[in-house]
């Protein structure tokens, strides 16, 4: 056992963090800077990160869950407003189905945001959601169709469906609501049906990447908040000298560090462990990281005082991102229920 980064992983971590820091929005105002945003999107694409889960040719991905999570963590830390996890998750699903990827269309999710949308019929029947759509989003998204105990991919046409313009909670990633009635097309060239094992492995990746994003979010907001506590003065001294403030930040720091350990394991598990084990590792990581991120972001807002409760302070950008990353693939409550199902046995009336 040696859980340290390899030299390549360390280099990827360094490069991803640097890029995200340079081009991510360091202020709320910078979210509206279209030039910066375009440069970030182009840099993420040019770095090849959207291809990390593409097929090498023999069915295995170009990079493991560990590398994919390293990038997710770096983007989360700088609340980088460029699609990443969405396109990557689509690529991973296509690879498992043996379909060649043509664009960066993402997978649509059911309203709870836990599972890929399962469609049935020529048009979608319920509202579903495409999460973390890329800037060059083609007007379509993927969903799955049950076929016996297995699944095949379907592609939804979105041109004439829209939920109107629901305001976005997460200011850094695009969620597109897809109203019922979107036409469902076949995906040509699908070489394999997706098994429940495929979907378990796929969720393991989703859980690992959203957990890594949350770890990044925690580190990013803590950097901002610790710096603020050292600088902001009241009673003639830095607020960071008050023990009450110190203890809040120390707790948050520990939560972030523990989250990092468990998220790392989940990212390693994706391509190493059996589907159920990998998903269980993802569930554990997500349950821990989701709860931790919520507390860390709330601490950050508290330590910022009044300014922390304004639109202008970047703290809520982190919190909003954390909320989406928490719900996507299931939040802590969802994961605890899943773990209970696996470890404690099923109970009538409780799922």
């Amino acid at each position: 056992m040696d859980t340290r980064d390899t030299a390549e992983q360390a280099e990827l971590r360094r490069a991803a963090r640097q890029l995200a820091r340079e081009l991510g929005p360091s202020t709320v105002g910078a979210l509206d800077d279209a030039t910066r945003h375009a440069r970030l999107v182009a840099a993420v694409r040019d770095a090849g990160w959207l291809e990390l889960r593409d097929d090498t040719g023999d069915g295995s991905p170009l990079a493991s869950g560990v590398e994919a999570a390293i990038v997710a963590d770096a983007l989360g830390a700088s609340v980088a407003d460029a699609a990443y996890t969405g396109p990557l998750m689509a690529a991973d699903l296509l690879r498992r189905a043996g379909v060649e990827r043509a664009d960066h269309a993402v997978v649509a999710f059911s309203g709870a945001l836990v599972d890929a949308a399962v469609v049935d019929g020529a048009r979608t029947a319920e509202a579903i959601y495409a999460i973390d759509c890329s800037a060059e989003q083609p007007d379509s998204a993927y969903a799955i169709v049950a076929e016996g105990a297995e699944y095949r991919l379907a592609r939804l046409r979105l041109a004439d469906t829209s939920n109107g313009a629901a305001p976005q909670t997460d200011l850094t990633r695009t969620v597109r609501g897809i109203a019922p009635g979107a036409p469902v097309d076949d995906v040509p060239g699908q070489r394999r049906l997706l098994t429940t094992d495929d979907l378990a492995h796929w969720s393991a990746l989703g859980l690992a990447l959203t957990s890594a994003d949350l770890v990044g979010v925690m580190r990013g907001i803590l950097d901002v908040t610790v710096a603020y506590a050292a600088e902001r003065q009241q009673y003639g001294v830095a607020i960071g000298s008050f023990q009450a403030v110190q203890h809040l930040l120390a707790e948050a720091w520990c939560l972030m560090d523990g989250s990092q350990s468990i998220a790392l394991y989940a990212s390693w598990a994706v391509d190493t462990l059996e589907p159920d084990e990998a998903r269980a590792a993802g569930r554990v990581a997500k349950a821990y990281c989701a709860r931790a991120a919520r507390q860390v972001c709330e601490t950050a807002i508290q330590v910022h005082g009044g300014i922390g409760n304004t639109w202008e302070c970047i703290a809520h950008v982190y919190l909003r991102r954390a909320l989406l990353s928490s719900h996507w693939f299931g939040d802590d409550g969802d994961q605890l229920r899943g773990l209970q199902h696996e470890r404690l046995g099923a109970v009538d009336g409780l799922s």
Partner: protein, 375 residues
Amino acid sequence: MDFRDSPAEAEFRARLRPWLAANNPGLPSSSTDDEYWARQAEWHTALYDAGFFGLSWPTRYGGHDLPTVFDVILDEELAAAGAPPRPSLGYLVQGISRHGSDAIKDRFLPGLISGQERWCQGFSEPDAGSDLAALRTTGTIDGDEYVINGHKIWTSYSDVADWCFLLARTEPDVAKHKGLSAFAVPMHQPGIEQRPLRMINGITTEFGQVLFDGARVPAQNMIGAPGEGWRVAMTIVSHEREPGELGYVARYAKTVKGLEKTVRADPGAFSTEQRDAVAWAHVQVEMLRRHVCRRLSERLDGVEHGPGGSIDKLLMTWVEQTVGAAALAVSGSRSVLDADDEPLKVYLYSRAQSVMGGTSQIQKNIIATRILKLG
């Protein structure tokens, strides 16, 4: 990055697993009755004799010179087998190894590691807890001996100890951190009285106070130089704060396994809150298990022990207290109908984790000032 075993690690695991299956003494998972510590001593000897203890310590002293990750494997297998944790005395080994002379190491490490000689740690005093450097126990030179007078309290295992790793003031006139020295004091002598303390879960062994009234210790039993006591103590407490050093992960995992088994036997009898508490305890234990792997791997880079131990101590404390809370939740009304209820005792014992080895507040002070550089 790889959480998998190397070939050598796999070979070790394959040797350990059948041994554990055949030799698990089936003790309770926590210190919940007076028999526990007595049996824990036998467990120490059994592990040591089979070659599964002191893995990362020098062979010269009875260890095996293996990387510390082997301790993780041991803890994992102990947890999987539902066996008791390994004895936690790594911090004393570290204190002696780091600061003791060769003569001290040769004299004391083999007995400590094999379990032949048992130790307690005499740091805290009635008026010196968090503010340890305020301690007042004195060590006064008298020929080639020191004479010890003072009062130590909260001294775990003092009831069975052969030796006390004692911190005493040897130079009364210098600054409070500077006048301290550390000693290996023989416990079996007339000038020492041990008085048990009953813990909140009713246990009457394990915990105690030690009164020194003219006790004697050879000057050559000093660990480190005169006045080096504070540094020795800091080495010890920083190691005492690390879950990897303590091996508690196995203890927590064993408790959670027991709770899961209870719920699985009759799932319908437990509420959503009870089930959530058990699942959350599992999540916490898994976090700590991976955290220990990460910390020990970082050590392969030679990352030094420092204030980071305080992060680990807080995480470990949250895990232990989450597990304790889950035990109480699963027990439900049993916990108030029967004071001998084991989950109740596990819960009560867990409250000490945020006090021993430096309180949670002290850990947060250290993290804030030394890691976050606030202050």
